[in-house]
């Protein structure tokens, strides 16, 4: 169980390095998009780890809001906002 | 009237899906909220989805899901293999893919499916042409592009939507 969370933290580190390095705005948003999906899956794993059903609701709402956020950022770099 | 009931039914199903409980207070709150939204929105709701509840179409949708899941797993192993291998074997490029589908929903489903299959990513849809970023461009011939990328989906999507 701990091992899964450890791999997820490794994944977060790799995506975050890309987010810090850039080099363009699009790269940072791609890294952010990837991070949100990893974190959604991570929240679901945490709900199993702590055996709390309520964390699934957190994961669902986090997924919905991050989807809207990434779409907004994509429209923003395109100049459509 | 049937439109009203259909809208209410869809909204209520979504509510039940999000709460996933059948306790009285959830069901009552959900039905009241669905009723209010239905009163405001039922005129603009589309009834197209009703026509999908035919045995033949449902069977085709199931078939499509199976084909799609197989393609999804295949694509993941393909991309994962490319990511791990030290030489990074990629030959990217953007190709034009001419679809034979007519309806807009079918095109959207096709574009999303293509995005999730081996090494292809839809960049834009302009009328009948999909511009697709391909991780490993095998050919520039339109026929081969059609066969490699989306033929398996188009056959079934044609049955479902047309």
């Amino acid at each position: 169980m701990i091992f899964f969370l450890f791999v997820i933290i490794l994944a977060i580190i790799f995506a975050a390095i890309r987010g810090i390095k850039g080099p363009t705005a699009s790269d940072i948003i791609i890294a952010l998009d990837n991070l949100t999906i990893i974190i959604t899956a991570g929240l679901v794993l945490l709900s199993l780890f702590f055996e709390r059903y309520i964390y699934l609701d957190v994961a669902l709402i986090y997924g919905v809001l991050s989807f809207i956020g990434v779409l907004t950022l994509a429209r923003y770099i395109e100049g459509g906002l | 009237m049937s439109k009203f009931i259909f809208t209410f039914f869809v909204l209520f199903t979504i509510w039940i899906g999000f709460t996933t409980s059948l306790q009285p207070q959830e069901v009552i709150t959900g039905s009241i909220l669905s009723l209010i939204i239905t009163l405001f929105a039922y005129k603009t709701f589309s009834k197209t989805a009703l026509s999908f509840f035919q045995p033949k179409r449902l069977f085709n949708i199931l078939k499509y899901l199976v084909v799609f899941l197989i393609a999804l797993v295949k694509s993941n192993f393909d991309v994962a293999k490319r990511v791990i291998s030290p030489s990074l074997p990629i030959n990217p490029g953007i190709v034009k893919y001419n679809t034979k589908l007519k309806s807009d929903i079918a095109k959207v489903v096709l574009a999303n499916s293509i995005t999730l299959t081996p090494g292809t990513l839809t960049v834009d849809i302009i009328d009948d042409a999909l511009h697709i970023h391909w991780l490993d461009v095998k050919s520039k011939e339109p026929d081969i592009i059609f066969k490699e990328i989306g033929e398996q989906f188009e056959i079934i999507l044609k049955e479902i939507f047309e």
Partner: protein
């Protein structure tokens, strides 16, 4: 039995999540990064989430809702990102004989979608 299947699904999913992040780290340009980011992470997230649903069967419906939402939303956001990046002038990384059919299309600024 269901439990073991669930743990296998979770391990596969977590491995693919890692590969997706690693792909984003390794690939040379925006579009290839998007490829790694959409594909590997979609299967990774679906596997992890449905695997948790199998380990705790009474949660399965909820995890199914999250999985369906991710399967629908993930390609849409990467599509929007690819289109947006192209419109502000990022050309795809190509080998010598690469093709770019999208460059022939005349792009309208501020077009509604």
């Amino acid at each position: 039995m269901l439990n073991i299947l669930g743990y296998i699904l979770v391990s596969v999913g977590v491995a693919f999540l890692f590969l997706g992040a690693f792909g984003i780290f390794r690939m040379p340009d925006i579009y290839t990064r998007l490829q790694a980011g959409t594909k590997a992470t979609t299967l990774g997230a679906l596997g992890t989430i449905l695997g948790v649903g199998l380990i705790q069967p009474e949660w399965f419906l909820k995890t199914l809702v999250i999985a369906i939402f991710i399967a629908i939303s993930n390609p849409i956001s990467s599509h929007a990102l690819a289109r947006g990046s192209y419109k502000i002038g990022h050309k795809p990384f190509m080998k010598d004989d690469g093709v770019d059919s999208y460059s022939e299309v005349e792009l309208n600024e501020g077009e509604e979608f």
